[in-house]
């Protein structure tokens, strides 16, 4: 789960990492209020959207006085910003972070990621702060330094010295730098981060560190033990269906096509999308009902697919293991019996309790086209949708 910059900074300050003075604002009045709170100093007004590349797309603006704060916050709030990373639809600005502008002497790139290959946290550092890491690695790969962090011990002192040397941080600043790095690692590990990026970390003219921008991704699987963070989850307007799915506890991603899919298991769900494409049509969604679906959950999933107006046909592809086919069948019949569906429904059921499931579907008297195998299912749904 991605969290906003101001939320990331809330976490960082808890771990003693200096961030600029500022606060969140949802209206022009609130923005002005924050401007007064921070002592009427020149400030930056930053759109809080969950994507990178804001600065280049006009999502960060400077304001020198009250009028300017009023103006730029008016421009930003309610606008939609599309960045190089956000996708074409862009993201609506609903919140702003208003914070003091800081004089920058030096910019540094600093991040901790969970590295799959070494199966441990990895510190990534570069002198080229302010640039995106992809850009640094393309232009100056030699300027990226990596330090594997031993999860049981954290960042060793000698690693701190090695990094400080590479970054040309003078020895007088070694002690605050060391505190900063250990705070960073604690923030990373105690909050189950997959990514914690400070870019740039700056050194001010007064030779102090300050985290100017921060990005954090939290491991979704860990949210049960971070209740406060879990409450921060926000969905974009066009992610309404994703939000509903998340509430019901299954995995759903909206796509461009018109064949609705309900599948169990992420791999099979992706393969189902792929085969629909091979037969010349496009899936309307990715939907993995998961291994422990109940009849209720299946009903919700089915209703969710049908609530998407793009959907011209539904393909159910279930291979029961931990999931029992009869639960899927009952869910489908209960969902469908409450409404008349006038689009084709192709169902392929295999695995645990498949015979019981077939009986449930047969007895329901519903117009269901049953398929034998994945190929048959894909061919049938594509043919039926084309017929319409």
């Amino acid at each position: 789960m991605k969290i906003s910059e101001y939320q990331a900074k809330t976490i960082l300050s808890k771990y003693g990492i200096p961030v600029p003075e500022g606060d969140i604002a949802c209206s022009q009045d609130e923005a002005v209020k924050v401007f007064h709170q921070i002592g009427r100093k020149p400030c930056v007004v930053k759109a809080q959207i969950l994507t990178g590349g804001r600065g280049k797309s006009g999502g960060i603006k400077f304001a020198g006085n009250e009028q300017e704060v009023q103006d730029v916050s008016g421009q930003l709030l309610g606008s939609t910003i599309a960045t190089s990373q956000s996708g074409r639809a862009g993201m609506e600005v609903r919140k702003l972070l208003v914070e003091e502008a800081i004089n920058i002497a030096r910019e540094i790139y600093l991040a901790i990621i969970l590295d799959r290959r070494s199966e441990s946290p990895m510190l990534i550092i570069s002198t080229e702060g302010g640039m995106e890491i992809e850009e640094i690695s393309a232009k100056h790969p030699e300027k990226i330094l990596k330090e594997r962090i031993e999860p049981l011990f954290g960042i060793h002192k000698f690693q701190t010295r090695r990094i400080a040397q590479a970054l040309n941080i003078d020895s007088a600043m070694l002690s605050p730098f060391s505190t900063l790095l250990s705070g960073l690692f604690n923030a990373f590990s105690e909050n189950d981060c997959l990514l914690l990026e400070i870019n740039p970390l700056i050194i001010t003219e007064n030779r102090e560190f300050c985290a100017i921008d921060a990005k954090i991704n939290i491991d979704d699987n860990s949210l049960y033990r971070h209740e406060e963070i879990a409450k921060w989850r926000e969905f974009e307007k066009h992610e309404e269906l994703e939000a509903k799915a998340s509430e019901y506890g299954f995995s759903y991603i909206s796509l461009d096509g018109n064949i609705g899919c309900m599948v169990n298991g992420a791999g099979l769900a992706m393969a189902t999308m792929d085969i629909i494409k091979l037969y010349g049509m496009t899936p309307a969604n990715f939907l993995d009902v998961g291994g422990n679906a109940t009849v209720e959950k299946v009903k919700h999933a089915f209703n969710l697919i049908l609530s998407d107006p793009k959907v011209k046909g539904v393909l159910v592809n279930i291979f029961g293991g931990i999931m029992k086919c009869d639960i899927i069948a009952t869910g489908i019949t209960e969902a469908v019996s409450n409404m008349r569906i006038d689009i084709p429904l192709v169902v392929r059921l295999e695995g645990t309790n498949k015979d019981l499931a077939k009986k449930i579907l047969d007895d329901s008297g519903l117009e269901i086209i049953s398929a034998d195998g994945m190929q048959d299912a894909a061919e049938k749904i594509v043919m039926e949708v084309r017929k319409q």
């Binding site: 999860p151 860990s222 991603i253 791999g267 769900a269 291994g291």
Partner: protein
Amino acid sequence: MLQKKLLWKLENNNVGILIDKSSRVVCQGITGSAGSFHTKLMIEYGTNIVAGVTPGKKCDTHQKIPLFTSVSEAERNTGANVSIIFVPAVSAKDAVFEAAEAGIELIVCITEGMPVSDLVKIKKYFALLSAETGKITKLIGPNCPGIITPEESKVGIMPGYIHKKGNIGIVSRSGTLTYEAVHQLTNNNLGQSTCIGIGGDQIIGTSFTDVLKLFEEDNDTDLVVLIGEIGGSAEEEAAEFIKDRMAKPVVGFIAGRTAPKEKRMGHAGAIISDNKGTAKDKIDALKDAGVIMVENPANIGKTVLKIV
């Protein structure tokens, strides 16, 4: 225990890898609904389930299987050497630690939704434990369907009836897509030596490469089917291994060719981010390593049939 088992395997020229009829299985979380249901199915399949563990046990047996309050107690009393874990994500890390500490050689963790930092700790602990005891503990999963050596032993949640004894090894990051592949093989009269779902999370106990190594050495495996998906670099690492160290033919399929970027496709590990982990990268790497790639997921069985 492990050494003894390896010797036993050498002497008996058994089918498959990691598990067989001799595997003595303890089920952690046997009284929960999934644990209970799948224990029944495993017993029906012929798996030698020797013990169940449930911390606050109220009776001595469950489905006629003796119950214990801890894995070490179960191991002492029954000689269990394989464990299958059904406990919820919140306590799964502890369950894995407990099994490893009790000296279980192979731990199969079905549980889905474990935080990745738990896996970092588990793998660290395994390394320390093996340095200390000289024994190697293997973890399959988490978030996986488990492992089956057809007609020998099933330690997992896969539907047993789709499998058939034979000489094709299967290794996959997916659960249900593995069943799909197995089903196609069996329908084409192609049996399997062992089928392993390694799980869809970012950090897992046993990698593609670990399993490929075992299949390459296994006398009863003639061909391997590898099923990958978008995200991470496990398939690329497997390709490296296949290119340099494997003589047996490999048939591959990668799910998610049509998946959008920056969206997590169900599995924690299945996400294309920063243009890394795309299906194309993986397909190219595997093709380059000599793997016969299948484009249509419905053609996995047919493709293997053409080769053998």
